[in-house]
């Protein structure tokens, strides 16, 4: 491990990669602050840039930096304007915005920055410990288990989608898988479902789809319904210091939430958003009576908890990506797509075949967190000026960058028409409350899922691998349960609410 650390340090500390981390964090903070633009859109917009750099370590470092930057920027706009830029920072506005209204915006930002730093760094430490262990287990896996594991991942995403949403999330996943089968797969060398259209020969572009699913609907939502800017206190962000006593009171919160957030982040489907809400709820419940009163009115604990948890969860979500090659969230799915485009296949062999990528990413997480703390915090009053860019200019630029991203990726103007068409479909799906992340995850995993399925079918000459390999069977049973259990529990809860509960 020490050797790995040194390799990683060497890669991450090269001038180019240091610039990538700093640049990524700044860009991420900048855009993450804009209400309505989430990390997925930002990363999708940055991908063409990352891919054309050609160096996978640098690309991943840049994108990871953008990711933390976006979360950090999102908390800034939550605190200052009560307008979270990112779903994962909604919980930060519960106590952060009241603090800002009391004129303690500077203090709130400092607490947010420290909590994010601690959450991110402790998360990265845990990642360093758990990822190698998990990937040595994963090396024992066959393609049959891989297939089953991906099915588990996809069903977990559907299962965590929320009450009444399981079927929708499942349908979106399947739709993503269906879209992944369009085009000419390596497996059979046959064009499938192209309807004779030449442009579909190579399948749908992943960047196009990512832009159409996230960036475009978000921009359209901003057009349709301009976010009413709440009156924050204007511009004056001063007094960034926190007292020793305050530091003492948030330290245990940060410790607990880093660990809890990290493990929530590891679970597929549960990400920064769930981690931050859960972290907030847990800390409120275990706080003393007087402190509970404070929650929601500017409690520093109530701000530190979600801030720590969401950053730790972001780091945790890298575990399944780096060790198994299975993304658990929309954001890591986009990162996976970028890696595949750079000819890197994340998975258990990543640590052996390309240790410099693996360790450089981990090292850059530490550096990135440090950059956010040291560089971004003092700059926040200036970066916050971005919040005053008029929307008349902002929206055309967002639209232009989505178009550019799709065009650069494929160098094909038809791709732009596809982008608009998919964007309209995605907006309609969002109106009807269909989750879009499962679609993209399904789309990205589709090829690998089918490859592993086909390989196991060929090895066992049929579907027999499912019952001949106990591990595979076990995983598939878990996947089935994950899909069925939430609706079963919801049904029981409904029956109980009607007073016809079953015996127990």
């Amino acid at each position: 491990m020490l050797e790995g650390l040194l390799i990683g340090l060497q890669t991450a500390l090269s001038l180019q990669n240091l610039l990538m981390v700093i640049g990524g964090c700044l860009i991420g903070t900048f855009i993450g602050m804009l209400p309505g633009l989430g990390p997925m859109s930002i990363i999708a917009i940055m991908i063409p840039v990352a891919i054309s750099m050609g160096d996978p370590s640098a690309a991943l470092i840049l994108l990871a930096g953008v990711y933390y930057g976006a979360i950090f920027g999102g908390s800034t706009s939550s605190i200052l304007l009560n307008a979270p830029g990112v779903a994962g920072t909604v919980a930060s506005s519960f106590d952060g915005y009241p603090m800002a209204k009391q004129g303690k915006a500077g203090k709130a930002l400092t607490i947010a920055a420290i909590a994010s730093f601690a959450g991110g760094s402790i998360g990265a430490l845990l990642l360093m410990v758990f990822a190698p262990a998990l990937s040595s287990v994963a090396l024992l896996f066959h393609s049959a288990e891989y297939f089953a594991l991906m099915v588990v991942g996809l069903s977990a995403i559907a299962a965590f989608a929320g009450t009444g949403q399981v079927a929708k999330a499942l349908l979106m996943t399947i739709l993503g898988l269906i879209m992944a089968t369009v085009g000419e797969g390596a497996l059979f060398n046959l064009p499938r479902f192209t309807m004779g259209i030449m442009d579909l020969q190579s399948g749908f572009g992943f960047i196009t789809l990512a832009m159409a699913m996230f960036a475009l609907p978000e921009a359209l939502f901003l057009v349709l319904k301009p976010k009413t800017q709440q009156e924050g206190q204007d511009g004056e962000i001063k007094d960034l210091r926190i007292s020793r006593q305050e530091a003492k009171s948030i330290a245990p919160v940060i410790g607990r939430q880093s660990i809890q957030g990290f493990f929530i982040g590891v679970l597929p489907g549960a990400g920064a958003t769930i981690a931050s809400f859960l972290g907030y709820a847990v800390e409120r419940n275990i706080a003393t009576k007087e402190e509970q009163e404070e929650f929601g009115k500017g409690s520093i604990k109530g701000l530190a908890a979600p801030e720590t948890a969401n950053n730790a969860a972001c780091t945790g979500s890298f575990v399944p990506l780096l060790t198994l090659g299975i993304p658990g969230s929309g954001t890591t799915a986009i990162l996976l797509g970028a890696l595949i485009a750079l000819n890197v296949t994340p998975g258990p062999r990543l640590m052996i075949d390309e240790p410099q990528i693996f360790w450089a990413v981990i090292m850059s997480m530490f550096i990135g967190n440090l950059v956010l703390l040291v560089l971004n915090l003092p700059l926040i009053p200036y970066i916050a000026k971005v919040l005053s860019i008029p929307r008349n200019y902002l929206i055309p630029f967002i639209l232009f960058f989505t178009l550019m991203g799709a065009y650069i990726g494929q160098n094909n103007a038809t791709e732009l028409l596809l982008l608009v068409a998919f964007g309209i479909c995605a907006t309609a799906l969002r109106f009807a409350d269909y989750p879009l992340a499962p679609l993209l995850i399904g789309f990205i995993l589709g090829g690998m899922l089918e490859d592993n399925f086909a390989r196991s079918m060929q090895l066992y000459d049929g579907i027999g691998f499912i019952w001949e390999r106990p591990l595979t069977l076990g995983l598939l049973v878990i996947a089935g349960l994950l899909v069925i259990l939430p609706s079963y529990r919801a049904r029981r809860a409904r029956l109980r609410a009607q007073g016809v509960a079953d015996g127990d």
């Binding site: 929307r391 008349n392 929206i395 055309p396 232009f400 550019m404 732009l416 309609a428 009807a432």
Partner: protein
């Protein structure tokens, strides 16, 4: 019927069409030697079409009860929002897609940015033109020179 069920209906159709292709039309053109393979190009799509059909029918028939949520935008009152602006912008994006090659990057992009802000209600022409031109040139420089991706800068008839 609520929008989510209408969409489910459309997706039932998609799954049926997809399933029809997978179950009935794809295997016909399969080479004889490939038929001895345990897995065919149509195997995986067949599975997908069945699961997709089950999931979309579940939503269509309302088997899974969802609690009513306060949506960000209520699609039933789309007219209350800036629908016209959104539609114009989408149209502008299509126009951009069609013009990018024939008219060149520099002209199409600056026109896109200027018209985009115009649609959103901006009327300060000088600022608009300056911002758009600067941004276009910067992006063109970055993409062409730094990233090394070719973008035709000028309209074809000028020889760009």
């Amino acid at each position: 019927m609520a929008l989510d069920r209408w969409i489910a209906l459309v997706l039932v159709g998609v799954c049926l069409a997809y399933g029809y292709a997978a179950w009935f039309t794809m295997d016909g053109s399969l080479a004889p030697f490939m038929k001895r393979n345990p897995i065919w190009p149509s195997t995986f799509p067949k599975v997908l079409s069945v699961i997709g059909l089950i999931a979309s029918l579940t939503i269509l028939l309302g088997l899974e009860k969802a609690e009513e949520k306060e949506a960000d935008i209520d699609y039933r009152r789309l007219g209350d929002y800036h629908l016209g602006q959104a539609l114009f912008l989408l149209g502008l994006m299509v126009a951009y897609a069609l013009c990018l090659r024939p008219l060149g990057f520099l002209f199409s992009t600056s026109a896109f940015l200027i018209l985009g802000s115009f649609i959103l209600g901006e009327r300060r022409w000088i600022v608009m033109v300056l911002v758009s031109l600067t941004a276009t040139l910067i992006v063109w420089y970055l993409v062409q020179q730094v990233l090394g991706i070719y973008l035709r800068p000028l309209p074809g008839f000028i020889g760009g």
